[in-house]
Amino acid sequence: MSGSRLLLLLVVSNLLLCQGVVSTPVCPNGPGNCQVSLRDLFDRAVMVSHYIHDLSSEMFNEFDKRYAQGKGFITMALNSCHTSSLPTPEDKEQAQQTHHEVLMSLILGLLRSWNDPLYHLVTEVRGMKGAPDAILSRAIEIEEENKRLLEGMEMIFGQVIPGAKETEPYPVWSGLPSLQTKDEDARYSAFYNLLHCLRRDSSKIDTYLKLLNCRIIYNNNC
């Protein structure tokens, strides 16, 4: 009689204890082999995206100050970004109506589409005559962070939508010739445009990610 009671007590206590446990295991072996909690993933992603947006804003302002005084307005107005084809929501209502899967795939598309331009941006800024170190260092930083964010977003996508294989095409950047043109003004204009687009897309990513974070993790109660 006493033995069965003890067993029952043990089982109940185990159940109670187990319910309270929130497992947040650390991931020493890389992102593929362990489980990081979604909350932590989103926290990190939000941090990185915010950081990228800061860097890109600063880089744009630096460039604008040095190379595009008086000409930036035109450049901004006339050129468009290579990621404009993506159907990203343009206001809050649209964003609210967009499913988080779509949203996440859009984010991934944006991130993937910027891999190439960022790489070339660094190369070309390095080769630029008298390029200030502020622009170059930030360009390098942004490229690195973009890769990190992409990895994190892929992990989030795998957790939020398990089993989905996301292989949607993403916009390809083809502005390299304009970056490498001999015409200095044209080149500066191309740079300016690229940096402006980068700033805008980083803002989009940041906003979408925070939106998803509040929606998924905090249940629209940030």
Partner: protein
């Protein structure tokens, strides 16, 4: 695309002036600001211009164009944002989309502008600013509070569409400069250590994260603490240095007073060591003060190597009595003369006269004896020595009386012959010394013999030059000799072979006398006769340079020169225990210095030594 580019070029040409910041002297309306408070709507404002009155109302128009809608459209809402404004609600707002707007007046473009909505975000001020008390310090001087507010109501923070950053400003009521805190992402912040007796003001503003422009400030919140205990609290706790110094000085003063006036000699010695005073080892000055001479004497007796200071004892005084009233004595001069003269009759008379009633122990009048002694010289064993002398003295007295009568006539003759020699001896006191005996040479060296006739001339005070072991005192040569013979029995035997005028009967001899006596009786028999009589320890002999040994034997070695004058007072050179004194023979070349163990008493042996 072509139309769009054309329009934008026009807009650029037109707006460059506006963006360069130059004043529009024409007074045309210009865009002042376009602002989106929540990333959902935006509004643009423009000025009226100087020529407001000239223009008809409604002539100013604003048009906008979006990249995706490539045509100019007029402002959808001129009213909602106020005058000279254009309000674009959420349906007209597209984030991340470039906009261009232009202002026209009477058909002419006066201003234009291009922007993106996410770049013009400027939130409204936060609302609901309030504070709550967290806790109050124990001293009831400071308090901690929590300031809370709400984000602008139109911002959708919950959904995360806009992320806001807040900045809190605070200051005391009477201050002019606001202090700001670091930007916060939360809508509450604690404020610590606010003074309860002061009032504070708080305001907060917000901006979208990653943007530069802050929104307007919220309403100022006044923080006032309800009056607690109206206790007079100090501003700051200042260390009471002043009080500490005062109390420290007082404490030190009290401690010093206690130490100085306390009976704790040990502590007192430690703090205030006494100045060392001259002191003789082994002798307590208190004993000297209190007159406990016996103790002092015992102490002195212990130390062999130290000079003894023989303290005057009143008991000595008893032994010496100077019969001042006797007319014979007075006529004959000072007491010293009396003592030193051979006029035993006189002395005996004196003694007899005095001794009858007083019952003194010694043969001599205490006054007379006193005259021969210096205060500083005292035999430590005087008291003990005096005892046996007393007994003998009493017997002597009776003897002396008889002998005085017998010898008086003979004594009278003697002094006369001895006077010249006496005078030679006497250096300090030119008093007629009646010295018994015919020995002149010796007299010159030695102290004057005690002569009863001249005893009257003896001074009141005479320095004790030496003390015999028995405790008898040897007076210095400056005074009369005092000789006494305690034993009457032997005296007649001794005296008779010698000169009649020799006061052999007397118990006291001075060394001169003894020497003389011995000289007169060069026979061994006489000496032998003399010896037993002088074996007594209680023979007072004054010498100036007696340095005889402790024993009575071998006084022959002491042969002080007789020609050398003798000072009245000689300092004690060495003190031999227990009752020996060695005087400094400053004027006399001593053959050797030996202690005179006998306190002034010279035995027959000593006499043998002395006499050549």
């Amino acid at each position: 695309m072509d139309l769009w580019q054309l329009l934008l070029t026009l807009a650029v040409a037109g707006s460059s002036d506006a963006f360069s910041g130059s004043e529009d002297s024409s007074g045309n309306p210009k865009f002042t600001k376009c602002r989106s408070p929540e990333l959902e709507t935006f509004s643009c404002h423009w000025t009226d211009g100087a020529n407001h009155s000239l223009q008809s109302p409604g002539s100013v128009q604003m048009f906008y164009i979006r990249r995706d809608i490539q045509e100019w459209k007029e402002c959808p809402d001129y009213v909602s944002a106020g005058e000279n404004s254009c309000y674009f609600n959420s349906s007209y707002t597209s984030v991340w989309t470039p906009y261009c707007i232009k202002l026209t007046s009477n058909g002419g473009i006066v201003d234009h502008k291009c922007f993106s909505v996410e770049d013009i975000v400027q939130p409204d001020p936060p609302v609901g600013l309030n504070w709550t008390l967290l806790n109050i310090s124990l001293t009831e001087i400071h308090a901690d509070i929590l300031v809370k507010w709400e984000p602008p109501p139109n911002t959708d923070v919950k959904m995360g569409w806009i992320i806001l950053e807040y900045e809190l400003h605070y200051k005391e009521l009477n201050e002019t400069q606001w202090k700001m805190m670091d930007p916060l992402m939360v809508t509450s912040v604690p404020m610590y250590s606010l003074r309860l007796d002061k009032e504070y003001e708080v305001r907060v503003r917000t901006r979208q994260r990653n943007t530069e422009k802050y929104g307007k400030f919220s309403e100022v919140l006044l923080i006032t603490f309800p009056q607690m205990n109206p206790s007079a609290c100090e501003e700051d706790f200042q260390f009471p240095w002043f009080l500490i110094i005062i109390f420290g000085i007082l404490g030190l003063a009290v401690t010093l007073f206690l130490l100085i006036f306390s009976k704790q000699q040990r502590i007192k010695m430690l703090i205030l060591p006494p100045v060392p005073v001259p002191k003789i080892k082994g002798i307590d000055p208190d004993l000297l003060k209190e007159g406990k001479l016996e103790e002092v004497n015992t102490i002195l007796a212990i130390h062999d190597n130290y000079k003894h200071e023989f303290y005057n004892d009143d008991s000595w005084v008893e032994f010496i009595e100077l019969d001042i009233d006797d007319p014979d004595e007075k006529t004959e001069g000072s007491d010293t003369d009396r003592l030193l003269s051979n006029d035993h009759e006189k002395s005996l008379n004196i003694f007899g006269a005095k001794d009858d009633d007083s019952g003194r122990t010694s043969c001599y009048e205490p006054d007379i004896l006193e005259a021969d002694f210096h205060v500083s010289d005292m035999c430590d064993g005087t008291s003990e020595v005096a005892q046996p002398q007393r007994l003998k003295g009493e017997a002597d007295i009776s003897c002396l009386d008889q002998k005085n009568q017998n010898n008086s006539p003979s004594n009278d003759a003697a002094p006369a012959s001895q006077q010249p020699s006496v005078i030679l001896v006497e250096e300090n006191k030119p008093r007629p010394l009646l010295i018994g005996g015919t020995e002149s040479t010796h007299q010159a060296v030695h102290t004057q013999l005690s002569n009863p006739s001249s005893l009257a001339n003896i001074d009141f005070y005479a320095q004790v030059s030496d003390i015999t072991p028995a405790g008898n005192v040897v007076l210095s040569p400056g005074q009369k000799n005092k000789t006494g013979n305690p034993q009457c029995d032997t005296h007649p035997e001794v005296v008779t072979p010698c000169q009649a005028n020799f006061i052999v009967d007397n118990a006291y001899f001075c060394e001169v006398d003894t020497k003389k006596y011995i000289a007169l009786a060069p026979h061994v028999e006489a000496e032998s006769h003399v010896e037993p009589s002088f074996n007594q320890e209680d023979i007072y002999i004054t010498t100036e340079s007696l340095t005889t040994t402790a024993g009575r034997s071998g006084t022959a070695e002491h042969v002080p020169s007789s020609e050398i004058p003798v000072p009245d007072y000689t300092s004690i050179h060495i003190v031999q225990s227990p009752q020996g004194l060695v005087l400094n023979a400053t004027a006399l070349p001593l053959p050797d210095k030996e202690f005179l163990s006998s306190c002034g008493y010279v035995s027959t042996d000593q006499l043998n030594k002395i006499m050549p």
